[in-house]
């Protein structure tokens, strides 16, 4: 492998990883705070992609301008889902939560199938095919934009969690929800906010992927696996872990796709998944047992 090729693959991997990170941050945030493993996470991505697709094709919006509609739209969608499906399962056994979110995933896929058909739909605009040439390095403009937007959203989330009262309240709730209530934190409201925030970030990731990939009702299943691997790799509940994990998986996928075969990417995820579980069960950034503190 030449140096140029190496850099080319690395760049492609990092750019892909940025979007993986954004998808995974929503999942890990919701898990960290609410202890809910959201199996409908991939379908949230799908909803974001369809919303973006129709904003571009039917409302003739610029795909990147569409983000400012997709983010609040998915935030509201997340609020609705939390209040109707998730809230009744909080504090119930894991089985109840698994059934609720798997059920939601099936419902959303079926609804998308009825509404949009099983056709695979993609955007074909000048910007989706635009390339950026940096010397001998060539990268897609949508890939760069997706990466930059994902990193900006992640940075904004870090600032929000680290520096605001509500952000601190979210972290406090993740660490000890009954102590959080004693601080005057409205824990159910924090759950609603966190779920909606996680959903909005995933929807944003979907909208950023729309110019690169195509959408179909089952598109979420392709990405949700990556998100779970990233979350376990980074440490369940760790936002910075999801960021680093997303980038790592993006790089691994790009290199393994070139050196082995893109068809094997799911197998590669699972191998990484197993290695992490054996070598470092708490993940790269996870603290062993920290996911149990909010009992």
């Amino acid at each position: 492998m030449t140096f140029q090729l190496f850099v080319q693959l690395l760049a492609a991997g990092v750019l892909l990883g940025g979007v993986y990170a954004l998808i995974s941050i929503g999942l890990t945030l919701i898990f960290g705070v609410m202890r809910i493993v959201n199996f409908a996470h991939g379908e949230f991505l799908m909803v974001g992609m369809y919303l973006s697709y129709y904003l571009v094709t039917a409302a003739h919006m610029n795909p990147y301008l569409a983000l400012i509609v997709v983010a609040p739209g998915l935030y509201l969608f997340g609020l609705l889902v939390e209040m109707t499906v998730i809230k009744p399962t909080v504090g119930q056994s894991d089985v109840v939560q698994v059934f609720a979110t798997v059920g939601l995933s099936i419902v959303l896929q079926a609804a998308a199938l009825m509404a949009f058909s099983a056709n695979v739909m993609g955007l074909n605009l000048p910007i989706t095919n635009a390339l950026l040439h940096l010397g001998w390095l060539t990268i897609g403009v949508p890939q760069v934009l997706a990466f930059v937007a994902a990193m900006l959203v992640a940075a904004a989330l870090f600032a929000f969690l680290g520096r605001t009262d509500v952000g601190r309240a979210i972290r406090a709730t993740a660490q000890d929800r009954s102590a959080a209530a004693l601080m005057g934190i409205d824990v159910p409201a924090i759950y609603r906010l966190t779920f909606a925030l996680g959903t909005a970030m995933t929807g944003l990731a979907g909208a950023l992927l729309m110019p690169i990939y195509s959408v179909s009702p089952d598109v979420g299943t392709q990405f949700v696996l990556v998100a779970f691997v990233v979350v376990v790799l980074g440490g369940m509940g760790s936002v910075s872990g999801a960021l680093v994990g997303g980038l790592l998986i993006g790089i691994v996928e790009t290199f393994s796709g070139f050196v082995i075969d893109p068809q094997w990417k799911a197998a590669i995820y699972f191998i990484i998944f197993l290695i992490v579980l054996v070598v470092r069960p708490a993940g790269l950034f996870g603290i062993r047992g920290s996911e149990e503190t909010a009992s």
Partner: protein, 234 residues
């Protein structure tokens, strides 16, 4: 300020409190003592709203609050330092303190409260940038007290603040309780350290098997033959 009448509470099929009644008058230091499993912590949890009551009433400042969620009670100035401290271990001491003043009623005076806490607890000021989980038990208990004070409490409920502490920190905790009280904060102190607590308080209640079995002025209970034998082994 706090009036508890006929309080009943429990967990699942276990009833822990049957009929607990007591008063915490404004400006007082009131103490609840009792053996392990007498229901002291359950009483605190019912007052803070961490668990639901199964009977009886809790009035704070004249208003009935036993159906209110915890966060509304904190907004009223009913603040609790829970058993075992319950700091947020992966946050700094300062972040823990700031969370103490999360309630709207406390946010406006946050800087002032922070200064007061650092003056009262200089050790906490020294540790402000450290993760709360990395402190010793004694230091953690000081942070927990500071975090409680950050909420600008009208009534501070302290659930066994000296549990598991080294003697020097036990002594320091009682000094701080006296100091807090001097600042005009009403305190409800739940303690196993019966002798020390009784000599400090205005009024005390003895809890046994989920019921108040004895009450009176601290000094009076200290002189009580039966109590001395049951709890002080003297």
């Amino acid at each position: 300020m706090l009036e508890v009448r006929g309080l009943a509470a429990g967990y699942g099929e276990n009833a822990v409190l049957f009929d607990v009644s007591f008063d915490v008058p404004e400006g007082s230091l009131t103490v609840i003592v009792g053996a392990n499993a007498a229901g002291k912590t359950t009483t605190c949890r019912a007052i803070s709203g961490e668990i639901e009551t199964r009977g009886g009433t809790i009035r704070f400042g004249g208003e009935q609050i036993e159906r209110e969620p915890s966060n509304r009670r904190v907004e009223r100035g009913l603040v609790q330092i829970p058993e075992g401290r319950r700091l947020f271990p992966f946050m700094t001491v300062e972040e823990n303190l700031l969370l103490g003043s999360y309630a709207h009623r406390a946010r406006a005076a946050r800087q002032e409260a922070l200064d007061e806490v650092f003056t009262l607890l200089p050790r906490v000021a020294e540790r402000r940038r450290q993760l709360a989980g990395s402190l010793s038990g004694g230091e953690q208990s000081m942070v927990a007290i500071g975090r409680g004070l950050m909420a600008r409490p009208r009534l501070l409920v302290m659930d066994e603040p000296t549990l598991g502490l080294a003697p020097i920190f036990v002594e320091r905790t009682f000094e701080i309780v006296a100091e807090i009280r001097k600042h005009g904060v009403t305190v409800l102190l739940v303690e196993q350290n019966v002798k020390r607590a009784l000599s400090l308080c205005d009024r005390a209640y003895v809890l046994e098997h989920g019921q108040v079995v004895m009450q009176g002025a601290g000094e009076q209970l200290l002189g009580d033959e039966g109590l001395r034998r049951a709890y002080l082994g003297m």
